[in-house]
Symmetry: D2
Subunit: 329 residues, 4 copies
């Protein structure tokens, strides 16, 4: 089914200004598929794809994406069918980005990503009719919400195969041809498409060994005049304040740079962005990020210092997230 999903993307691209992406994408995804197929059937991912196969095919009657993610059908699932679907969806745990309310199943994800969306959506240029790229899209939750805002086509990229499977599971349950696509690659594997009206990078920058290159990579995906929406973890301080954890931060590994808001503003400017502004700063709450039935690993409350929740377990400042908007000239 992943090949079918790629095929739909190629059809979309063939009929668009992004047709030149076909110069590289099918070869990359075909290599990606071969690597997947080459992996042993005993690996978890075989179970993932099987779970998607076992999900029921239902006619969606109501698809709400603008104010929340809610999908319903008039023809209800039987209790047994619903239990079966829940069982399959749980094979795809942990579910991080959501929540999804679909055919009376409520996938209560670790993150209330709708909170973040509510903080972001009023500050950005309306997505109506725009081509959108979401870098590090996870389960793809925001892709659907972007469609809800009228985007013409939304493409999420994220190399994590579990998230691809979560996306495909949701797409199958929606069971309608909607212009949301998932490409299981990292942004560093994309050519400079210079073709998106809006590019989102949320929760990615601190995972990059080279944040300046990440900012350039994002700019290379934007059309001239296009809009970047950047969300990342920040620290307090002036423009020369940049925290680099020796090891982990809030128990996350592969973390590198946590600059101050002023430092990021300066970096965006240095990388050639204009019209840079901070539109939201938010301390992550226990309501927004927490352990649930669908994500049973440790979550925010476990990452913070028991005695002093303004610090992480490692003694760094607790997560503070800022949203930046900037334009490519």
């Amino acid at each position: 089914m992943v090949d079918e999903a790629f095929k739909e993307l190629y059809q979309e691209l063939t009929n668009s200004h992004l047709i030149h992406w076909l110069d590289t994408l099918p070869k990359q995804l075909s290599d990606w598929s071969k690597d997947c197929a080459a992996s042993h059937p005993s690996t978890p991912k075989h179970r993932w794809y099987k779970s998607i196969t076992h999900l029921p095919v239902i006619q969606s009657e109501l698809i709400e994406l603008k104010d929340k993610f809610k999908v319903q059908s008039t023809e209800k699932l039987t209790i047994g069918e619903k239990q079966g679907a829940i069982h399959q969806l749980k094979q795809l745990m942990p579910w991080r980005k959501g929540p999804f309310d679909i055919h009376d199943i409520f996938i209560d994800t670790e993150w209330r990503s709708d909170f973040k969306w509510d903080r972001v959506k009023n500050h950005i240029t309306s997505l109506e009719g725009r081509w959108v790229l979401d870098v590090g899209c996870g389960s793809g939750y925001h892709l659907w919400r972007m469609l809800g805002e009228g985007a013409k086509a939304v493409i999420g990229i994220d190399p994590t195969e579990l998230f691809l499977c979560q996306f495909l599971a949701i797409k199958k349950l929606i069971n309608q041809k909607l212009p949301a696509y998932y490409v299981p690659l990292g942004i560093e594997n994309l050519p400079a498409l210079e073709g998106f009206d809006t590019v989102f990078s949320m929760g990615v920058l601190y995972h990059r060994r080279s944040p300046l290159d990440h900012l350039l990579d994002l700019k290379n995906q934007l059309k001239p005049g296009g809009e970047l929406v950047l969300e990342t973890l920040v620290i307090e301080g002036d423009e020369s304040q940049v925290l680099v954890p020796v090891d982990r931060y809030a128990m996350m590994s592969n973390v590198y740079f946590f600059p101050s808001i002023k430092a990021i503003t300066l970096w965006l400017s240095k990388m050639g962005y204009v019209n840079i502004r901070v539109v939201d700063v938010n301390k992550t709450s226990f309501e927004e990020q927490r352990k649930t039935e669908w994500m049973q690993n440790e979550s925010l409350s476990d990452f913070l210092d028991n005695q002093n929740p303004s610090l992480t377990k490692e003694g760094y400042p607790a997560p503070l997230r800022a949203v930046f908007i900037a334009n490519k000239p």
Copy 2:
């Protein structure tokens, strides 16, 4: 307009079993386009593309492809428009494969390719619903006739850019979305697609330095069970008779192997074909190949010995063409 033509091909491929061709084709054609664009505006080919641009856009009312190539519209061209169109089409001379009867313009080509088609078409498996590849398709004349026989999609390949332009000119004058496509590459640049029901190679084999590799390349484009239609120049003799001209043959350069019918039959067998048969042997006549208003260079009568028309100018046997049909197992 060539990019537009490629785009239509990608759309066809995206919706077909040949979608994997996208792994290589867009990159190759994009490189090809860059090389073209890099060539100096003073080269002839710039004139070619301009001529196509200047051709009128007319509504075709009647498209006859089965018994001949004839295209008409109810709304006739004015005399001035017709003269203009003829002028533009003559920029694309020499016209070799045809003839094309289009909007009351009769492109009288060097070859009566319809004669060849009449000799071939009754012997082959019906093209109804089939995917067809025509290797060395020239102006693409036979592509249209293959559509006339009901082919589902026909793709011609030929690296000669003038022939691409002739094809695009005809396609523009037809002005209807028909599943005939032209790829300006040689067969050695294609991956082993193993996806065509019928593959034609007419007038190509003697131009190949390695005829056995050519037979293998053709097999690699066929589906299992698919049909090869091979037409080439042959000489008389038993299975060890193979003429290799030191230099030219009938004034053609880049010619290599002219085997006997028995030799080709053996070669096809050696390369793994089955069900091999010769269905036509024909000595090219002055009616079939001759100088015309649309091809004013030398033609067959100039290639043969004045004293003895059974010999070429170089003293080799005059052209004798045989058609072979064979299957991939």
Copy 3:
């Protein structure tokens, strides 16, 4: 030890006009080595390399290469050592090209390659001071004889790993730094070096699916004015006589074109060689090719028709070999 052998070749190249071969060769041989190393230890080739390791290291006192291949030392091997060495060398059977008389061990190979050398060497330009390439060199027998004729450096290429091992075994037993090298690649993997004074291709042409490309490949290795020595199987007949066996010839598979002498002469001319002449034609005798203690598989007498030794088992004419000499202009 194969890496050590490659290293000696690189040293030779670094100090020569062929230094540009380093642009491609080390990468190819390094990939080749990785592929080898990746093969399972239970494969025969692991035994081969072990056998070479177990061969004794002796000081060679007398190295005769001009009139025959004979290597001796004053300090003789004990009977036990000699038996051990014979045992290891027999792990490398079948030995086809030779014979080698080395430290009182007589490797009696299937072919008396010295017979062929005696027929060839008087016709060629003296190898004194020349760089020589031997395409399809087998065990490398002729490489040593070429050194005996005064060649400055000789490089054999042959993709068959057993032959590489035979070469390394002989080189180890000689135990002197002599400018003979073995590259386990096919000629189609070499760049156009245009750097050899003499190129040999003996017993290769009929194994090529494209003999004309082989002739071009050989030309691409020659310096301007360089000399090609081509030996191949021929048939009787005029210049359009070319035998192509449907399947095997004298029980060899992978055989393609057996042209007449006149046909090859024409082909050489067509491919741009000048000064083409046939210097020897020889019907292979049972003395020259036969089963021995060191090659216990079937040999010539088994390949021919019992009733009529002028025919092969398949009914083709018995092997007739011709030697051609030609120059690159």
Copy 4:
């Protein structure tokens, strides 16, 4: 002459543990040479190479490299020859790293790189018998001084072609086969050689858009246990202090990160180095960096604030350089 220089390097590599560098280096340098040759003869670099050609070939009698760079011959240059040599060497201006005292010509460079060497050399592990890589080597001054400390072979890399020419000019005037080599590539173009005992990176880190990747690249060139010598511009402050100039710093463009000493120490640790220590911190003086007859552009005094020399023209802290030593585990 640059090809001759590369050839000497290949000879050195062929006889060393770094022979695997031949898998990539000759191809890269051959491509590099082609790009050079393709550039128009009217470009400055053609003049550079011509200048080197015109330098005299003299027998060096005394080569002092340990305490300073001084090369002399008993047979002195005439006044005319000396004036000629000076003229040619001045074609290679600006000379930044030095000074070179050679055949009574004193190339007084912008930098007294000997000052830096004096600050560094006592802190590092003795170079005796070691393979050394100098990343961003400039004119190669330190390469010669490293030989003076007994290094077995020293290789400088720097993509700036003028510096290559300065190196070749000095090498020609020395006129002795010494194991110092120059590779005109950036470190990002090298494979992970893991073969150097000591790697220097002096004055490079602040020019890298991704300093962490630079630290990894350096580690990939070191043998296990090997020593990194890192010199870069630093600022005052704790481990989260990192200055990123929006535009220029001390009039240098292409500058990115100026971390505090503590920040760099942390970064080195994060990138996997051990045994990290700062061995020197130095405020650049007007004696160490200044305009000379051989570098007539602006220098340090022009880069600093006239009123307050503790600040750069842009208002940042004046240059403070620190030397770090660390080991690969």
